[in-house]
């Protein structure tokens, strides 16, 4: 993939390249395209809000556009509006109508796979319905700027058809509306699951969704704190391949190899650089730009094999944390029991990662059996579930030993946070079974299922105590009465002390009340 990006770039524009490869981004058919368009726009909005630490208010709507066919697949107008930072009027057209190809090599935990989802949606809209998109934004809350626009695919630039301007009436944020060919009937369940699960991983967000029939689903926020946004970081030396190295060298405007190491990689100081270069048998003063192809691949494999680097810096990752994760799980599932666990940061191939997980039990929303909710950098993963590493781990666990039967309503939530999510292939929504990641997931789930087992044993005990008390209060008075009759005594014997009391300590009652779906006609 990376190779073809580099090779194709001089010949076609980035937007044309992405359009030609739209299958990779998930736009394979009207059903998926509808789902992915909405997903890309919502994720852009969430990123924008989180960047400014604003609790997100996202409004999503899908409407039928009667200009298209009268049955699915037909034209749908997708609109997503947020309360994020907004985009200055001068940048608005480029933000949606041009694909940038930067020469930076910094890494950042991000939601999207390509990080250009909105443009992809516009391109797809243009190709399937030919209708221009409408984008509008306000950065101040006083005035907004709007554009009716298209994208010139070949020349990679926006084409503005009309400009609009007006009073924002206090609204700050961005609005995008595009008309695409979609199949809502088939996409509906994925769209709903996506929004619900997005809300699970972002309990600090309020999301309102209006469907093509005018029904409204409101997911109110249940937390006020927005997690710190992920920061950009330099790559860890052991996670860099030859291709990236080549581009780094090409862009290098500094001194020798030692300097190159210190300024391009995280957690590499002069001493580490020196020690590594001695290990790799490179002269620290060599100008990186003079390295041959063979030198580069020798350098790359030395970076991977050298054991002396400090572990990757996980402080650049933005996790949800146990409180937010629990709030999100409780909002969506309203379980009778919920346990969460945030593992400590680990690394695979130079990429730091954190596994956060939750196990929920019971409540009105979980169906019998196991339901798995997978997230990568707060994005719900809805496709390819059975191939995911989480299922591999679950299948290898004997859940009966945790008192969980096959029909028990159990929700398993796994959130993987990393600067690089190990997807098996691009466009697929499942996480490959890297041993380091698998191990963390396994440890998290084991500890969570142990907590569930404790809860279930306690509950069973409580139910037993209550049932016992019930049985005693039914039969002891009868026994007392008949023994008195038999013995010919007028008064009942004092039997009350023999009835055990039911001590029903409440546990995990957790009805947060929020997150219900309101259905308006």
């Amino acid at each position: 993939m990376r190779r073809s990006v580099g090779a194709s770039f001089s010949e076609i524009s980035p937007s044309e390249f992405f359009y030609r490869n739209r299958d990779l981004a998930g736009f394979t058919n009207p059903t998926r395209a509808l789902y992915f368009s909405l997903k890309e726009l919502v994720e852009n909005s969430l990123d924008s809000c989180e960047a400014s630490q604003t609790p997100p208010e996202i409004l999503v709507s899908i409407e039928v556009d009667e200009d298209g066919p009268s049955e699915d697949p037909r034209f749908y107008r997708i609109m997503v509006q947020d309360n994020g930072t907004g985009i200055p009027a001068g940048d608005l057209a480029d933000a949606f109508g041009r694909v940038f190809y930067g020469s930076k090599f910094k890494l950042r935990q991000s939601r999207g796979i390509f990080g250009m989802g909105a443009t992809m949606t516009l391109l797809y809209a243009q190709a399937t319905t030919g209708k221009p998109a409408f984008v509008a934004s306000s950065t101040t809350g006083r005035r907004y700027h709007g554009l009716l626009m298209k994208v010139d695919i070949e020349r990679n630039r926006p084409v503005i058809l009309r400009r609009l301007e007006g009073r924002a009436r206090g609204w700050r944020g961005t609005l995008v509306s595009a008309t695409i060919l979609g199949d809502y009937q088939k996409a509906e369940s994925k769209v709903i699951s996506y929004l619900e699960q997005t809300a699970m991983a972002a309990p600090y967000a309020s999301i309102t969704f209006r469907d093509p029939r005018g029904r409204q689903m409101v997911l109110e926020r249940v937390a006020d704190s927005v997690p710190r946004p992920p920061r950009e970081t330099l790559p860890h030396p052991s996670g860099v391949d030859v291709e990236t190295l080549r581009k780094m060298v090409k862009a290098w405007r500094g001194g020798g190899l030692a300097d190159f190491m210190v300024r391009n990689f995280q957690r590499v100081g002069p001493k580490t650089a020196e020690a590594f270069l001695a290990y790799a048998k490179f002269d620290p003063r060599t100008d990186p730009r003079t390295l041959t192809e063979a030198d580069l691949s020798r350098l790359a494999s030395a970076l991977r094999s050298y054991g002396g680097f400090l572990p990757p810096d996980a402080s650049y990752l933005s996790t949800l944390g146990p409180e937010l994760l629990e709030a999100g799980v409780r909002r969506l599932l309203q379980p009778e029991f919920c346990a969460v666990e945030s593992r400590r940061p680990q690394a695979y191939e130079g990429h730091p990662f954190v596994v956060e997980a939750a196990v929920a039990y019971g409540g009105p929303r979980l169906k019998p059996g196991l339901t798995v909710f997978r997230f990568a950098n707060r994005i719900p993963l809805l496709y390819d579930e059975s191939s995911d590493v989480t299922w591999k781990v679950l299948n290898s666990m004997d859940l009966r030993s945790y008192r969980v039967g096959p029909e028990d309503p159990v929700g398993v939530v796994v959130h993987l946070v990393s600067t690089k999510i190990p997807y098996k292939t691009i466009g697929k929504e499942y996480i490959a079974d890297r041993p380091e990641v698998e191990r963390e997931i396994r440890l998290a789930l084991r500890s969570l299922f142990r907590a569930l087992r404790n809860y279930l044993s306690r509950k069973e005990h409580m139910v037993g105590v209550a049932r016992r008390a019930n049985i005693y209060s039914k039969y002891m008075p009868l026994i007392a009465r008949f023994s008195a009759e038999l013995a010919g005594r007028a008064r009942l014997p004092r039997y009350e002390a023999l009835i055990p009391r039911a001590e029903l300590a409440g546990e995990g009652g957790g009805e947060d009340g929020a997150g219900e779906r309101a259905q308006d006609p």
Binding site: Y472, Y475, L478, A480, L486, A487, P493, R494
Partner: protein, 344 residues
């Protein structure tokens, strides 16, 4: 009645002391059933099971048991009787629940074991279907019939053996023996053929396995009137066992004595009779053979004629019903077979 009162006091006083009441009930499980050679019946050993309200699993059964005792007291105070089925339904009026009649029957048996009394003594009877016919006059003791007499030949179908008859006094008889018959058909034939006159016999139709009231009545006929009791059944392992239960009691009622007639005689149909009288027969089924092997291991079957009859069955593998004698005409069994077996 005193036993019922004592039971009530025992439970009452334990509760009053703040203790969970405990009852010691003779254990009726197989491991505690012992064959008593002298009594020629099964009896219970020394093991007891504890029924206590301390154990929540016992609570319901405990309540059922004490209710049954109370219900029996009511029955006897009001001179009423109740069938097993009545008991099951009556319980519902007291909010005492039985899963089914099997459960209430089981609890009644437990109360019998606890008090060492047959259920008939606390006025609970099974549904009756056995009957009696013969030259015997009885006098009732039940309320409303005190002093009334009945000649047991007065009804050509026989008189049903129920609580009233079981407790009646025997007033007058010229009978010299008792014949217990397994099936109603042959019982009717015997009445028609005037077996009661020709053999001076009191005829009892056990209608299959003899109910306890019938066994109790047979025992009284033996002990109070000093009449020998003869038993006539089908010639198969099941008929043989009907006779054995009358003689030695059943394992199910090992907690009760006084329900058997140890010196009654099984006179047929024997396995050897099937060959001797060249009776029409059926082949023994697998179930029959299995049952015979079980009986062969049962200590009650160790003597004569049991042992040799089991061997004979297993040898020729045939069985014949009482009706098989009809091959030689309807009266053959009375004219020829019965005199042979009674040694006349």
């Amino acid at each position: 009645m005193a036993k019922l009162r004592a039971l009530g006091e025992l439970v009452y006083d334990q509760i009053e002391r703040g203790e969970h009441p405990v009852l010691r009930i003779p254990d009726r499980s197989v491991s505690n059933i012992i064959y008593d050679e002298k009594l020629r019946q099964y009896v219970l050993g020394n093991k007891v099971t504890l029924r206590t309200t301390r154990n929540v699993k016992h609570l319901r059964a405990f309540a059922q048991l004490i209710w049954l005792a109370y219900f029996s007291k009511l029955l006897s105070e009001s001179h009423k009787t109740s069938t097993l089925r009545d008991v099951f339904y009556s319980a519902q009026a007291y909010r005492v629940d039985f899963e089914d009649q099997d459960e209430s029957d089981e609890r009644i048996t437990e109360l019998e074991a606890l008090l060492g009394m047959a259920r008939e003594e606390f006025n609970v009877y099974p549904e009756e279907r056995s009957s009696i016919f013969g030259n015997l006059v009885i006098e009732y003791n039940v309320p409303g019939y005190e002093g009334r007499r009945l000649d047991l030949t007065s009804h050509p179908d026989g008189v049903m053996i129920g609580p009233a008859l079981t407790t009646a006094d025997f007033v007058e008889t010229d009978a010299e023996l008792v014949i217990a018959i397994e099936k109603g058909g042959l019982f009717t034939r015997f009445i028609e053929e005037k077996v009661h006159e020709r053999f001076k016999a009191i005829l009892v139709n056990t209608a299959g396995q003899a109910p306890r009231a019938t066994r109790y009545l047979l025992r009284r006929l033996r002990s109070e009137l000093n009449l020998p009791v003869y038993i006539l059944t089908d010639g198969d392992p099941w008929g043989m066992h009907i006779a054995m239960v009358i003689i030695s009691g059943s394992a199910n009622a090992a907690h009760l004595t006084q329900l058997n007639v140890p010196d009654a005689s099984w006179i047929g149909v024997w396995a050897t009779d099937i060959l001797k009288y060249k009776l029409p027969y059926d082949k023994l089924t697998d179930a029959d053979v299995k049952r015979l092997r079980e009986l062969a291991r049962d200590p009650r079957y160790s003597g004569d004629p049991w042992r040799s009859q089991i061997d004979s069955f297993l040898e020729h593998r045939r069985k014949s019903e009482q009706e098989a004698f009809a091959k030689y005409g309807l009266t053959y069994i009375v004219d020829k077979y019965l005199p042979d077996k009674l040694g006349r």
